[in-house]
């Protein structure tokens, strides 16, 4: 089993990273968390309702970038995945949509850095990590495609000096004019079959952004349809070619980072329950999933996530199942906690301005965003099966 360290060494040999940004002295763990918490408890809490209805909080994301919350998971800033998850949890406690945007931004930074492409790892990554420029991820479809759940939507043709990519992605978040996202296209070979896939950084200004239908919540995530028409992808844009080994390497880290979102939604729900305990505790004692139950499970689950965050690039099957299991439990817990919080608050939690009803929709999002709860379970079942010879013609006698 190759260790994360071994993988890094290979990566370094293949493509030395550009001049690494000096570690910001003020991005020590306690300061990152304190800075994030201050933003979460202050302006982000105040803006959560507006973000839910459609305000895209780029200003707050910029401030979160200044604290280091969008950078600390990167190798150049110490690969502090546990801290990155904790920061996303702190923000999601105030606003699930912003926690999701932080995740989109964080994995985009991961793509840039892990690409080893000098055109993507220099000033561009520094700007991204510090929250001076913004970009997200368009990997929902290819992740499902790699798991055998649906076909891949973007198609690439090889041309001189690169590829031409066409197709349409229905909903991609944390993008907009001047922004960018990581994307994957299947390279169409002879007979219209897909031989391999490429991963590239897609500049939104070179694609058509199409408005999406309204979602029931988290409308401030700047989610668009993306249409690519014969877009040229050259070497400077390439994150990985072929894409599958790259995705295999970062998959655990990609999924693990999402846990911050759901942990935060659950923690926010716990606070909602606590807020009415004094006044309604005498009747709330008859509810399921009381605060102590949720708090105990949250503590246990968070500890497990933090343990897994110590080795985000581990490649064993058992580790990946552990990550998928934790991510699935995060979804289940966020759903139960938010449901219970609304029942604890009663009518006041049902007001359109109230946090509990918003958190219920945020928890639903945690459970349906790729990898959705059902995909996680599908994948754990797949990874648990033994590989056996294909039950076809096993060769000549």
């Amino acid at each position: 089993m190759p260790s994360a360290l071994a993988l890094r060494q290979v990566e370094d040999r293949v493509a030395p990273a550009g001049p690494a940004a000096p570690n910001r002295p003020d991005w020590i763990d306690a300061a990152v968390l304190a800075g994030t918490t201050a933003i979460a408890d202050g302006p982000l809490s105040a803006a959560a309702g507006a973000i839910d209805r459609g305000a895209y909080p780029l200003d707050l994301l910029g401030r979160l970038g200044e604290t280091g919350a969008l950078a600390v998971h990167l190798d150049r800033h110490g690969a502090r995945f546990g801290l990155a998850v904790a920061a996303m949890q702190a923000a999601s406690r105030a606003c699930g949509a912003t926690g999701f945007l932080m995740w989109c931004h964080a994995v985009c930074g991961l793509y840039l850095e892990q690409s080893g492409n000098p055109a993507l790892t220099g000033a561009r990554l520094d700007d991204h990590a510090a929250g001076r420029r913004f970009g997200g991820t368009a990997l929902s479809n290819p992740m499902k495609a790699f798991a055998g759940i649906e076909p891949i939507l973007l198609r690439a043709r090889r041309v001189t000096g690169g590829y031409r990519v066409s197709g349409m992605l229905p909903w991609v978040s944390h993008i907009g004019p001047g922004q960018y996202c990581g994307a994957i296209a299947g390279v169409v070979g002879p007979g219209d079959t897909i031989g391999h896939e490429i991963m590239f950084l897609l500049a939104c200004d070179r694609a058509e952004l199409r408005p999406c239908p309204h979602f029931s919540g988290m409308e401030g995530t700047s989610t668009w349809g993306l249409r690519l028409d014969n877009l040229f992808v050259g070497e400077d844009d390439l994150i990985a070619d072929p894409a599958r080994p790259f995705i295999g390497r970062i998959r655990g880290a990609f999924i693990l980072l999402q846990c911050g979102m759901g942990l935060g939604v659950a923690e926010g729900s716990l606070a909602d329950m606590g807020a009415v305990e004094e006044t309604l505790g005498h009747v709330n004692q008859f509810l399921d999933d009381r605060p102590d139950t949720i708090a105990a499970e949250l503590a246990e689950l968070r500890a497990r996530v933090m343990q897994l965050a110590e080795t985000p690039y581990e490649s064993s099957n058992d580790y990946l199942i552990d990550v998928l299991d934790a991510r699935a439990q995060v979804s289940e817990l966020a759903l139960r906690a938010s449901q219970s919080a609304l029942l604890h608050q009663g009518a006041r939690g049902y007001l359109m301005s109230a946090a509990p009803q918003r958190r219920i929709r945020e928890a639903h999002f945690v459970a349906i965003v790729t990898p959705a709860l059902k995909h996680l379970r599908w994948e754990m079942a797949r990874l648990s099966r033994e590989t056996l010879p294909a039950a076809t013609d096993g060769g000549r006698a």
């Binding site: 239908p213 349809g225 105990a296 079942a381 056996l388 010879p389 294909a390 039950a391 060769g395």
Partner: protein
């Protein structure tokens, strides 16, 4: 608008699936909101039309064909208000515990979680079925659904247990979390494949599903088969395959089969018996790698630098207990789930284990005979009934090689000398002694 009947001679209305969001465009219904009246053939839709849900264009649609419906998973037979006993594993161990609990208590809720379909079969038959001409249907004694109905339990088939929180009495599965009052781990062991053996190129026979797939491959006619590993399962399978008409090579790590268990005279008889039914024994030899040859056969690279080829390769290289679930829950594990030898309790509260997945004093015990007694003990403890406890006794080991049947009694110790008690062309009897006592004996 009402749905018209097709009159254009192009047959029934077709449906087309949006690959992005799953919307189905039905020609009979059209898309009136986008100006496509009911009865608009897909081919006649303008190229700039967009999916009304997600906005992708016409080229991202594909003809929609209904998938085969997913077979419903059997569900609870009645309301289950108490969590009850949850059993992980649908082999002999899991079903034995379920039967033992139900025999003593008709009410307690039981949930059985199994990664397979839960069919009941007798596992030892898997290594003698080919020679007897038996197929999967003959080996399946009862379907999981029928057994679940008979025992009044909830069967969760094709479901994997992925996480365990002992303090909260919660088991996470690929079909959602389950609460339990008592948990019984009976998930068995899995084939341990040495590094270098590509799992996609060699079969392992440890359950009915895998055996059934192998059976299907072998059913096409006589083939060359290589069996890697000359332990009990390898020897039994080799003979069974030979009896079924296949050309079998058995690759063993020693000069004789079963070198760790059998003294040399017994090993020689076993080898001669196997060769008598047509098995070619090759050893001492280790397989260092497998590869697919151009003709479709599989090449086995041997450690002595030679190689051999076979159409079908089976690895019988031992078993190992999966540890992820129990280690993740903080339960003691030592080559198997550590259990108390008398109560079969694990180190976790209200969690028991039996069968192939446990270890007693650091030793796994992967035989059928103790399972029923283990199940009885666990059932009684769960139901709070008196029971003298489990007393482990080394089971008689019977090698089901009809060409040279061998029975081993007592506790054979590798390396300890064996003494011949009787040796004739028809019978071999030997024993091991420690301090004047006979501690193991065999008859071949």
């Amino acid at each position: 608008m009402s749905r018209p009947e097709p009159t254009d001679g192009l047959g029934p209305w077709q449906q087309f699936l949006c690959r992005a969001c799953g919307l189905i465009y039905d020609e009979g219904e059209g898309d009136p909101d986008s100006g496509l009246p009911p009865g608009t053939r897909f081919a006649r839709i303008p190229e700039d039309w967009a999916c009304p849900i997600c906005g992708v264009t016409k080229s991202d649609f594909e003809p929609y064909r209904r998938r085969a419906p997913v077979a419903p998973v059997p569900v609870a037979l009645g309301p289950q208000r108490r969590p009850g006993a949850v059993i992980v594993g649908g082999g002999i161990s899991g079903w034995s515990v379920a039967a033992a609990i139900r025999a003593a208590d008709g009410q307690v809720p039981i949930t059985l979680v199994t990664a397979c379909d839960g069919s009941l079969y007798h596992k030892p038959e898997l290594s003698v079925a080919l020679g007897r001409g038996l197929g999967p249907e003959a080996l399946r004694r009862e379907t999981g659904i029928a057994a679940a109905a008979r025992l009044g339990l909830r069967l969760m088939a094709e479901t994997v247990a992925v996480g365990l929180a002992p303090a909260r009495h919660s088991l996470r599965t690929t079909r959602g979390p389950l609460s339990y009052t008592h948990l019984v781990l009976a998930h068995g062991a899995r084939p341990a494949l040495p590094a270098g053996l590509d799992p996609a190129l060699c079969w392992r026979v440890n359950d009915l599903a895998a055996w059934s797939s192998l059976h299907a491959e072998l059913a096409r006619g006589s083939r060359t088969v290589a069996v890697i590993g000359a332990g009990m399962v390898g020897c039994e399978l080799a003979e069974d395959l030979a009896r079924a008409g296949h050309a079998v090579t058995l690759v063993g790590a020693g000069a004789l089969p079963l070198p760790e268990l059998l003294p040399e005279p017994a090993g020689r008889r076993l080898r001669a018996g196997l060769e008598g039914v047509g098995v070619t024994y090759r050893g001492p030899s280790l397989v260092s790698g497998l590869s697919r040859r151009a003709d479709g056969r599989i090449a086995l690279a041997l450690s002595d630098g030679t190689s051999l080829a076979a159409a079908t390769v089976i690895a019988a290289t031992g078993l190992a207990t999966p540890s992820r679930l129990v280690r993740g829950a903080g339960l003691a594990f030592d080559r198997g789930i550590v259990v108390d030898p008398a109560t079969l309790r694990t180190s976790g509260p209200d969690i028991f284990a039996l069968g192939d997945c446990i270890s007693l004093d650091g030793r796994p015990c992967r035989f059928i005979e103790p399972i029923a007694r283990q199940a009885e003990v666990i059932a009684h403890t769960i139901l709070d009934r008196e029971h003298p406890g489990y007393a482990h006794a080394a089971p008689v080991i019977r090698l089901k090689t009809r060409s040279a049947p061998i029975a081993l009694h007592g506790t054979p110790v590798a390396g300890l000398p064996w003494h011949v008690v009787e040796e004739s062309p028809h019978r071999l009897a030997m024993e091991q002694r420690q301090g004047g006592d006979v501690t193991a004996w065999l008859a071949a």
